[in-house]
């Protein structure tokens, strides 16, 4: 992971401005795809903030996403709270949860972290279902708002833009530099005086905050919230695969991965829905064996070889 340049930030700004017009040019099916694209772009970019430089594979996206969706659902349905206050609350809860997980696991080697996040969404789902069944009585929650898909799209676009901007700032800061050293060699990082655990926990907390925010924004789309649905573990795998397909070397990598993957996935899911999980597995293997640095890595490789020839 290299520090981001000013040029990149300008390009990102232009892209965000252009993307803002999408809901005016499309509706129905394509707007729905647009919402998906924005949702996964925000999630995958925030995943990249932490996992890109450190190489720690987080499978916790679904847990934070679910927490966001559930907080909004529970707050609006059980306590008549407003959407915006619940959005803020879900960001706080997502951040606290991520910080706690980080404090427990990130002081140790990366494997513990991966294992811990592997079943996290499932475990929280079990806990939430249990609390609901035994103490709250109802199973489903209603989220009724006036938001249309276009509103959600714009909110997610703003979130994705914020994630990118934050990542851009971090990558040019002392913290970003520290994280790159940690990713290169953690022992070296510790020996030059970097507090590795603190740096990792801070970054992972931002991932948690944004995961919860995205989950909260998506909640009105479903209008009826059930733990089984918001804590779907598949989401974590999607985020990882899209981010890696794009390439973990650059902050804009996920964008390049999200769009082709979602288009292919929608096609596979509608034509061969029984084999869709098989396709997910093949996609993972293709990335590991043929695209270890994702599309971004391949593009930069081609560019470098073109430059070498001329």
């Amino acid at each position: 992971m290299k520090p981001a340049t000013v040029q990149e930030l300008i390009w990102a700004g232009v892209l965000v401005a252009l993307a803002a017009f999408w809901p005016m040019m499309s509706n129905g099916y394509w707007l729905g795809i647009g919402v998906d694209v924005m949702m996964y772009t925000a999630l995958a970019t925030s995943w990249m903030l932490f996992s890109g430089p450190t190489h720690y594979i987080s499978l916790a996206s679904a847990a934070f996403f679910g927490v966001g969706g559930f907080v909004v659902g529970s707050g609006m349905s059980d306590y008549d709270a407003s959407f915006w206050s619940m959005l803020a609350l879900s960001a706080v809860i997502g951040g606290v949860l991520a910080a706690l997980i980080g404090l427990a696991t990130l002081r140790l080697s990366g494997v513990y972290f991966v294992i811990f996040t592997l079943g996290l969404a499932e475990m929280i789902r079990n806990l939430v279902s249990w609390v609901q069944n035994n103490f709250l009585g109802s199973r489903g929650l209603y989220v009724l708002t006036d938001f249309t898909d276009a509103h959600l799209y714009w909110m997610l676009l703003v979130t994705a833009g914020c994630v990118y901007l934050l990542g851009w700032i971090i990558s040019r800061s002392r913290l970003g530099f520290a994280l790159r050293i940690i990713g290169g060699d953690e022992t070296v990082a510790r020996h030059v005086g970097i507090n590795t655990a603190t740096a990792k926990v801070i970054l992972f907390t931002t991932t948690g905050v944004f995961g919860a925010i995205v989950g909260a924004i998506i909640a009105p789309r479903w209008s009826y919230i059930e733990p089984n649905q918001v804590f779907s573990p598949q989401l974590s795998f999607f985020v990882v695969i899209m981010a890696l397909l794009g390439g973990s070397g650059r902050l804009w990598g996920p964008v390049v991965g999200v769009i082709p993957f979602l288009l292919i996935w929608n096609w596979v899911d509608s034509n061969f829905s029984n084999q869709s999980i098989l396709v997910l597995g093949v996609a993972f293997l293709v990335i590991v064996y043929f695209l270890p640095h994702g599309f971004v890595g391949r593009i930069e490789q081609l560019r470098a070889s073109a430059r070498g020839r001329s």
Binding site: H55, L280, G281
Partner: protein
Amino acid sequence: MLDILVSGLLLSGTYALVAMGLNLQYGVARIMNLANGEVLVLGALAAFWLYTTAQISPILTVILVIPVAFIGNWLIYRFLLTPLVRRSKSQGALEVDSILATFGMSFIFIGIMVSIEGGFFFYKYLSEPISILGSTTSLNRLVAFLLAVLIAAALYIWLHYTRPGVAVRAVSVSTEASGLVGINVPRTSALAFALGGTITAVGGALISTFITLDASIGVVFTLKALIIVIMGGVGEIRGAIVAAIILGLVETGVATLVDPGLTLAAAYFIFVIILLFRPQGLFGRRAV
């Protein structure tokens, strides 16, 4: 109380066996295998499928599963994982690659299993009630426990008293040093990986006699096996046995006293405590 003790102990027998399999794969071959649970479910599917279509007893399936799983896992190591081992510059890079690759494999396994049997692997085998120490349980649990203990004991003896077993243990201590003393490390790693996968599949066939599984449950077993391995200390067989007993008892306790839906939460609770207070594991000597 006695019921919890008896069924918890019986459950921990198969858990210990499965954790031993993962221990061989992670501790010796150094592959963090996230498809471990799916291999277990494949074993369970074999038992279910052979029993419902051909009335083959699950005990016989265990014997049939051994060669198939051994060859299958050996091929996976040889052709899919060896390139990653060669490519990786450090243990960290290998971990990331193997996590992603085995993750992909786990989805492929799930996809294959769903196309064979999309529902629950439900069958009845030896389900008559028996009484142990005044507590009623079913015969299949006892049989699975005894077989698991038998296989685990055989593995323990093999690891401690035969030349290849000693080689496997040497590689688990240090790959470099065992290479220097003339152990064929790639071959020993492949053997350990294949053996680990075989034991996991056998464990799956045994578990399927008393727990109804389905194609997507694998990840839960991966997680439990990993928690046991970490709790016991990587590479520690005695540690894995003690850890399996603790997990079996705590899980059964939570399932009976609080709610059966919270067993995973109970496993996580143990995991957090281990991470906070003894990350090297109960019996681990060095920080991993």
